[in-house]
Every structure is written in C-alpha cells, then in structure tokens.
Point group: C3
Chain length 243, copies 3
C-alpha cells in the first residue's frame, strides 16, 4: 500500500491508542485502513477507521494485516504539523513514513505477536446522545477534580454526568440545548474516569461524540475527529458497584 494523508489524521489516530496500548493491529483493505486493539485489562476495545476518501492518494494492491509499535509512530508524528502531508508505504517487513525532509522506517510486528482482540460484542444500548466532544471532555475533567469514576445518566430532561467525593458531589447537565441529538431514553451507568478521559484525549474543538449506553451496560463512545477523516470507536465496560 502507498498513501498520502494529512498529518492531523495520523496524529489523531495514534493519539487515540497511546493512552491505552503500546501496539495496535493494522488492516489495510480496499476501502479503508482499520486499526484495532484491546487494553491489557480487557476493559476497553478501540477500533479506528480511516476511509480511503480521507487520503489524498491511496494505492491499494492487496489486503495486509500487521502490528505496529504505535507509541513509536506517535512520537515521530509529533514532528509533523497538522496540515503537513505524510506519505506512507508498506514493504515486506517495514512501513515507511515520509514527512518533509524526514524518512522514518519501522519494522512491522507479526499479527500473532500482538494481543488477541476479542470479537466485538452485540450490544443493545438504549440511550443515545450526540454532542460536542469538547463539552463531554470538559465535563469529565470537572468530574476528575473529585472522583475516579463517573455516572452517566439520561432521563427526559437530558444527559447528566455526575461524580461523588467523600464530602462533595458534582453534577453537569449536558442538557437541553447542547446535544445535537438525544433519543430521551432513560439509563444510568458508571464508568472509570481514567478510561473515559484517555479516550477523549484525541478530540479537538469541532469534533462530534456519539455516546450510546444502557443501565449497567458498556458505553459505546464514537468520535468523529480530524474533520470527519477519522472515526474512533471505544467500547468501555461499566464499573458495577459491589453490594
């Protein structure tokens, strides 16, 4: 495969994975490049897709599956500006990135040597909120001031993010006006703040988050970033309180 793509797409792609994992599994297909991984604790599944249309040029010759040390790639891509064009070329055992006067070669990892990714579960998640990703990021940051987990709650009146400390509590109403879309289904579930804030590290102003969850069910958090050129889906297990 050979392709040329804006720096911002690859920078966001690697930023989506590095808070969770070292390596990721890349699949080059005729219509897109898929990247997947599960975190070591099996709490979070990460699936990213760059469609063919997001590339400036995309020369596909055959299906390819390989692992990459995505942390290394992330460090190198920090050297690219958002609008810089980055060339990618896969070879037998290497992948090459070219940005301005710099050429970077990295050895592929055999797919059998990366963590096995579980099958994506079929989930019935009744509540769905589509909102500004930065609004959610800010609410999670606020919750992080006092707690390590957060409650997502929807009812007729809107979407709430809540956290409780030992002597204090905080409630953010991501409510009436803010959501772009909200199906008004009621649900309540608790998630790890560390996972959620890591997942939102790759978002910038203008990005859209789609949150789907059900009571004591996982959350499916789908982020459309880099002007829609990259979609990242996180499926994060709930934190269910012991009784």
């Amino acid at each position: 495969m050979r392709g040329v793509v804006e720096g911002v797409v690859l920078k966001n792609l690697t930023a989506a994975f590095v808070p969770f994992v070292h390596d990721a599994l890349f699949s080059v297909k005729q219509e897109e490049v898929d990247v997947r991984m599960v975190d070591p604790a099996n709490v979070c599944l990460i699936m990213a897709t760059i469609p063919k249309e997001a590339f400036e040029t995309f020369d596909y010759d055959k299906d390819e599956v390989f692992g990459l040390d995505i942390e290394r790639v992330h460090e190198i891509l920090k050297l690219a500006k958002k609008k810089d064009l980055v060339s990618i070329k896969t070879e037998d055992s290497l992948i090459k990135f070219k940005l301005s006067n710099l050429e970077y070669s990295l050895t592929k990892i055999d797919p059998s040597a990366v963590r096995k990714i579980p099958k994506v579960p079929e989930l019935k998640l009744n509540a769905k909120v589509v909102l500004n990703a930065m609004l959610l990021k800010t609410a999670l940051k606020s919750a992080g001031k006092i707690a390590e987990s957060v409650e997502f709650l929807t009812d007729e009146s809107g979407f709430y993010v809540r956290a409780e400390g030992e002597t204090d509590s905080i409630t953010m109403h991501l409510g009436e006006l803010d959501p772009i879309d909200f199906n008004r289904e009621a649900a309540t579930s608790r998630y790890s703040l560390e996972y959620l804030t890591s997942a939102l590290k790759c978002v910038s102003p203008g990005d859209i988050a789609t949150v789907r969850f059900g009571t004591n069910m996982p959350v499916d958090l789908t982020l459309d970033v880099a002007e829609g050129k990259l979609r990242v889906k996180y499926i994060i297990a709930p934190r269910i309180e012991a009784f």
Copy 2:
C-alpha cells in the same frame, strides 16, 4: 445566604489560602463575607474580606460561621472563567456553587473542627509602602534565585528588597518612582521567601500591595485584588537571626 459573584473574586480568594492551608473559616455577616485561617506553623495569619458590594446579588438572612475545605473549592473554581458568574447558596450542612452547567455541593465543616485562629495582634509597624503588587512579586522571585529569606529595608532613599547567597547577593530598589505611597520611615526586617511568594500568588497586574513593617517585627501585607472586590491581609512573622 445566597449570592452571585464574578469567578475572579472567588478564584483569587481561594488562591490566597491554598498555598498555606487546607481548610478556612468562613463568616457570613450582614455587610461582608470574611474568611480567615492561620498556617500550621503559626507564622502567617490570613484574613480575606469580600464586601457585600463586590457581589452582583447578596441575600443575607442570618450570621453564619463554618469551615470549608478550601482546596476542593479552589480546584472546582479553576473551571470557572474570570468573568463567569458563580452562584453560592448555603444550606444547613452544605454549600452549593453553581457555574454554567455545573453544580457543586460541599459539606460544611464544624467551626470547632478547624484550626483555632489566634486573636489578631495589635502591631505598631512604622514603615509603610504602597506599591504595584507585581513589582514586589518580581523582586521576590528574583531574590528566590539565590536565597530562602529576604530582607525588607526602608530608608530615606526608598524601599529595598535584599537577599544573600553564600558567594553572591542581590538588591532590588523598589524605589524613587515606583511606590504609589511611601512614608520614608526607616526599618529593616527579614522574612521567609516561601511565605512571601506564597502570599503573592493571588496577585495579577493592576493589583495594589500595601506593605507595613517595623525592625524585627512582623510584616502586614495587604493586597487589593480582583479590581478591588477582594482584600487579603497577611500578617507574617519575621525571621530573626540567631546570634
């Protein structure tokens, strides 16, 4: 009590205390809200006042005295912008802060459970300098490059801040032109740089500092911040050299 006040007033209030203490004692009165605490080493007394006029709205119903975990409040107020309006409401055992779409509740602390604040001593401090608070902050930062304590010195020619290292010394003349007011009384005294720089953490450009001190006496450092809507007074004990 219920009140609405600009974020900048509360942000500066909490910033004035957090370098020194975890908790502070709040007194709601008919004409003002007072906040006081003494640091654990009994070196520094901190007294802040928000007059009724600094509030956009101020509904007083009765005198109240309670402690608050001011560090927690400080963290939450970081989420407010300077010009954001913050609503405050006291309830029986709680205080509630509301800023944009966020509501924060914190349990009050029984006044008997916070550190006992000593009576403010009557001090005869002969030297008085009124100056730009940022000028003093910069001088203290400079002194901090080489020493851990600093000498305040006034004589007819002005106000000097001095520090000495093992092989070097530094003198800042906050002198002829800079002070807004200076009574030209002579005095010399030494103070901990850590205390002084902590005290000046809450100042911004445009704020005014009034420095009153006497030879080997405490310094009374009064800061008028947040466009005069908040007054913070620090009384810091001198460091007297052993012979």
Copy 3:
C-alpha cells in the same frame, strides 16, 4: 573592566555553558571577552567569544582571568529581557551585574580552582556545512525520538543526519536547498545526541551553524548567535563503535 551589553548576548552565553558545566573561565582582553570550559567527561570543549564591538560600551583597563559560577549568572540573567541593557563591572574579588532596578554581585573564583582546560587540538576536518542552526536543532530533536547517538554523513548529494533504534530508523536530509554553504566532501561520524542537543540549546531562529567534521573525527560546531554578537564553538569527540 566595565561594559554594557544587551541581555540577549549574556543570556545566550550562559545558556551555551550551563547544559555542560557549573563554572567557566573568563578572560577579559583588550578586544574581546573569552569564556572557556571543558565538560567533566572531557568529551566537549566550549569556547565563546564576545567581541568588543558587541558591547554598547566597553571600558578595558587590564587583562583579567577569573572563574565564575556560570549557573548562578544564568539564573539571574533569566530575569533580563533580551533587549534589556545589562551593566557589568569587575572589581578585585567580585563581578557586578546591573539590570533595571536589580544589582547582582558574585564572588570571582580563582582560575586555579576551576577545571584545567586542555589545549585546543589542531584538527583536519574535511567536510564543512553551513546551515540554519534551527534546522539542525530540529533534526537532532527528531533523532532523539529513537536513539541516543546520531550519525552525521555527507556525500555529493548533501548532509544527512541518521539515527537507528532497535526496530526503526530515521534519516533527515539537510540537503540540496537548505545549506547556506557545503563543500561536498564525503565523511561519516557518530556523536552523542545528548552533547549535540545540549550544544544547540542556545540557538534561536536566524542563527547560523557551521559544522566541520571528518570520518571518525570530532565535530567542530560553531554557532553565530544573538545577531552575530556572540560566537560559540563546541568541539565534541566522536563516538566510535567497538568491534
């Protein structure tokens, strides 16, 4: 000696030394001020020159040689802005720096008490590249993402900086268009990235670097900084691989 010089000249002078050494040896001469030191591992020789013309005023009375704690001076000069004028005055056992309302005095160190500086070796270095110092700084930063040493390589096609990690490699072509001057001589040598990046800490946009090196020979890296008012020369030993 008495002199007045722009802050930027002294700030860059001290910035050139502090990544390597605590003290440096100053020589006041009729036509210039020289500063020299060798790092503790004897890998890098640092020689800086401020010509008389770089001073606003320069009153020479006699040759002087003394050591200074250049880290202390560096900390104090951080308080000066680039365009601030700094006055320097040497006295019998002191040097005094004056910047705006601040006076700083530092005890000189007896030259016999600082590290002995070896004689500058006569070096025949065949390759010479003159280029934008920031371009080199960026290439070294990129190389630092994956390795601890870097290869300098010249051939007919230009100047290359290369680094290798365990599973990856990076090549920067500082090539065809970029160099201001290049003698097209071939050479290859390896240097410590820590030394090179430390040496380039004092450069700003617009500064010029002259790189001279030979195969498995030291590199002579000469930097013209502060609008040409300061020249800093580093001679850094190569890292020769064991076989």
